[in-house]
Symmetry: C2
């Protein structure tokens, strides 16, 4: 059984653009617990008030399985006794059963960064571990820069971990702190360590600076490591930590190891997206196992093969990790992709029907304008139904006007929209305000149409994205707007493209409303 130790809440938050509030940290911890992660490193209590607050707050929850750990370092050299160091005391005050401390392995850093003797560093390591054990804590020891340190001075590197192990650490975690180590170095060094230190329990903590963190972590397990540290989606300092979303399925599905999170592997995709969402980062489409594109097929040859037998171009069944197969609509779309989509939408088209080539041509024309249907399947379905003559026009937009103004420097801006729509023979001309011009337009359109179509009240917007397209630089560039809407039953995405953000939003809103109205017919 391999132990999985997550440090998304501590090392993960060292990533650029990855910031979590106290509430976010609690939500992530609960999700990781549900997933079956064994250890959750909550933060560094000595370093900032948010991390301290987290340890207080998380005590109000009963976790199902996970153990919360507090992170810190060996005590500072200026204190003669470990218990005098406020950093180490803060670690104990976090009141976790388990703590993880890191210490220095690399001789040069002991001399240059800590500016102490090699011997004194061993005292800090041994003393800190022993003191924490005396306070009743289970201690994990992170050997910082272990592999670099070992390459520079193997004897000293071994001494540091022997000291921690003999002082009572429950696991010695070998860290590739700078992420520069190759898999063959990892395995050679681990073999040396196992030979030199008796009965040691080893862990691994890799960084991804050479794009090798997953390979290094898996190689370490193959050579005897039983505890793997990493983060969800590989978030972390610089290029990130080892990505648990690839390590866990690699261990379980490919290497046939067991771990607790492996029993709930079908949660993997949702855990991955949940953490990105909480951190307000767009999920990486191309991410192995969990990315939106991980089982997406675009080339004509692949699409037809994968529909006959998924094993032809899929290394695992996407369901195993909670992901899904997708057939993409794209530039490379031939008839087979359009027919596959038609089938998915429940549309009955013969492959020889000339409307298929008409749809392919329309698609290419719109893609050249900057449209993209990969996140806007509802707009694509409307396009197909229109080509097939299967859709009626529910309303006509006669005119809109949006005014956004700021009359005094200190006042907030005010946005107002007017719209004129015609439904059947009747014209509705109305106005609404909003938070910004797009919201005002959205409000006015709904106000005008809800009198005719009360079911629109069931529908709400869940996401609104803007992408500036290349071409003319600056504020006059074309923009693509993607809107995601939902009602009680489902979610759907629509798209609009224009030089004018208001018009692009209008197009996507119109498609979204049309899709909702069409569903009822």
């Amino acid at each position: 059984m391999i132990e999985i130790y997550d440090t998304t809440l501590r090392d993960g938050t060292q990533a650029e653009n990855f910031n979590l509030s106290l509430e976010d940290k609690v939500r992530v911890a609960l999700k990781l617990d549900e997933f079956g992660i064994d250890y959750i490193e909550g933060g560094w209590p000595g370093s900032n008030p948010k991390d301290e607050a987290f340890f207080k707050e998380i005590k109000n929850y009963t976790l199902k399985h996970a153990i919360i750990t507090a992170f810190g370092s060996t005590h500072q050299a200026k204190y003669s006794e470990p218990g005098e160091d406020p950093i180490l005391r803060a670690l104990v005050e976090a009141e976790t059963t388990h703590v993880t401390i890191f210490g220095k392995t690399w001789d040069i850093h002991v001399r240059d960064a800590l500016r102490i003797s090699l011997e004194r560093n061993l005292e800090l390591i041994g003393g800190s571990v022993r003191w924490l054990k005396e306070q009743g804590r289970t201690v994990f020891y992170d050997a910082e820069h272990f592999f670099d340190g070992f390459k520079a001075n193997p004897e000293y590197a071994l001494k540091t971990i022997k000291t921690a192990w003999e002082a009572g650490a429950s696991c010695i975690v070998l860290c590739d702190t700078n992420g520069g180590t190759l898999p063959e170095e990892i395995t050679q060094i681990i073999q040396r360590v196992i030979k030199e230190v008796d009965h040691i329990r080893l862990g691994i903590h890799c960084h991804n600076d050479s794009e090798l963190a997953v390979a290094n972590s898996l190689a370490a397990v193959r050579f005897g490591v039983v505890h793997v540290q990493g983060t969800i989606n590989g978030f972390g300092e610089r290029c990130g930590n080892a990505n648990l979303c690839s390590i866990i399925p690699g261990l379980v599905l490919k290497m046939k190891y067991e771990c607790n999170a492996g029993k709930k592997l079908s949660m993997l995709t949702s855990v991955s997206r949940f953490v990105s969402e909480i951190a307000n980062l767009s999920p990486n489409k191309y991410q192995p196992y969990v990315g939106e594109s991980a089982f997406a097929h675009k080339g004509g040859v692949h699409v037809s093969a994968v529909q006959r037998n998924p094993e032809t171009y899929e290394h695992i069944r996407p369901e195993l990790v909670g992901n899904v197969q997708r057939i993409l609509i794209s530039d490379l779309a031939g008839k087979s992709n359009v027919l596959a989509k038609a089938k998915q939408f429940g549309l009955d088209i013969e492959s020889r029907d000339p409307v298929v080539m008409e749809i392919v041509a329309k698609l290419k024309e719109l893609e050249a304008q900057g449209f993209q249907f990969e996140g806007a399947e509802a707009s694509f379905e409307l396009l197909m139904r229109k080509a097939m003559g299967q859709i009626k026009k529910f309303f006509d937009l006669l005119a809109f006007r949006v005014i956004d103004q700021k009359c005094r420097e200190e006042d907030p801006p005010q946005a107002e929209a007017t719209v004129m729509v015609r439904v059947g023979g009747r014209t509705e001309h109305t106005a609404a305000c909003g938070q910004g011009p797009v919201n005002a337009l959205d409000n006015a359109i709904r106000k005008a149409l809800e009198t005719f179509y009360p079911e629109l009240k069931e529908m709400s917007l869940v996401d609104y994205k803007v992408r500036v397209l290349p071409g003319r630089p600056g504020t006059g560039a074309k923009v693509r707007v993607l809107i995601e809407s939902r009602d009680k039953e489902e979610k759907w995405g629509t798209v609009g493209v224009s030089h004018d953000i208001i018009e692009a939003s209008w197009q996507a809103l119109v498609d979204s409303i049309t899709y909702k109205l069409m569903k009822k017919c």
Copy 2:
């Protein structure tokens, strides 16, 4: 000397959202040639008109070093002679000196997908390679699904590549088509192949579905492969191909192999960003070696250590790959980060000056509102200078109004903006049109201010980005606008945040203009 074979233009374009026009493909090819890539796979001439046009167009250029290759498959079973197959003929008509064809390795696929006998598949492989050789081509043979095929039926897998080798292929490229193979499997199988086939020249082509493509490619080289296929940034079907931007520095800097592109390694970051830019994809911040965050330091401990000695938290010197070290401004920013930035901006602040803590507090407040300064250093510099009382107010905005309207369904929308500004004692009230409301506002502001500050004519906007922030869903959400501006000397980034996109744009525009005016003082 390891050969580097780039397939960004062919396999890369199978990635979701990665689409290149003919002109883009030519620009990428020229950049790869300049970088020292040995082979550039230009496309599949049989499959679509754009790829055919590429091979015509690229002949108008004289490349310095790279050889362009055309890609295709072994001939179809329905033709008894290879020369009868239009797909194979199209490959020859591309008029490249080198061609790459793929053939089937995995017995099940031969039976189920091609629906031919195992023997007939060997005929297709041998016949196609021989015929292409007869047409004077150097032939690379891609053994599709080699590792999966080998695991299922090693004897047959070996037979397919022996057939291609004996028919005259110059290199046998072993493909992990589904990206599911582990490094230890790659190396074991390669050792078997080398034992079984005499004097064979081997290549490797990996996919990243298990986040192991770089490790697998490097392992293959270590065990005797001399030709590595991959793409820039790892673009490619599903989770992507093996990432040359990590493989090349791994081979050269860490494993001490030689390759031509390794001689121009300091171009690596610019090549990576160029390809993303051309494809209109935001570069991956966290990408190893070349990402914006790859040498970015955020935690207080790391920042101070890395400023003393970069080796403490950097696995290589960023200059080697054309990247730079960055100190981040963030949530975790303490005094040390603010002081490091001050130094960078040439500002003279004592570390005990209370203004430092004032800046830290202001920063936290703005970040809580949704501001982010990581791409908007000019806004951050202005914030610091304002706190230090070092900046004058160049102008006041008294009012703005933006009107965007569409009067008839068939007409394009019209955007107009009015602004009222005061400079010194004088008020300027003017109006301008634009492509969309933000552009109209931008035009009006410039028109109003250029009368007072003619140097604004030197300045132009190079990028405009919008990010919808989480919180209130839908069109009323907050947006963050990032603007990049330039003049003859430099580029600078500014930021604005509001529920109203016009106001957020206004804030970023004002900062951008203020920064320009400040530079002259």
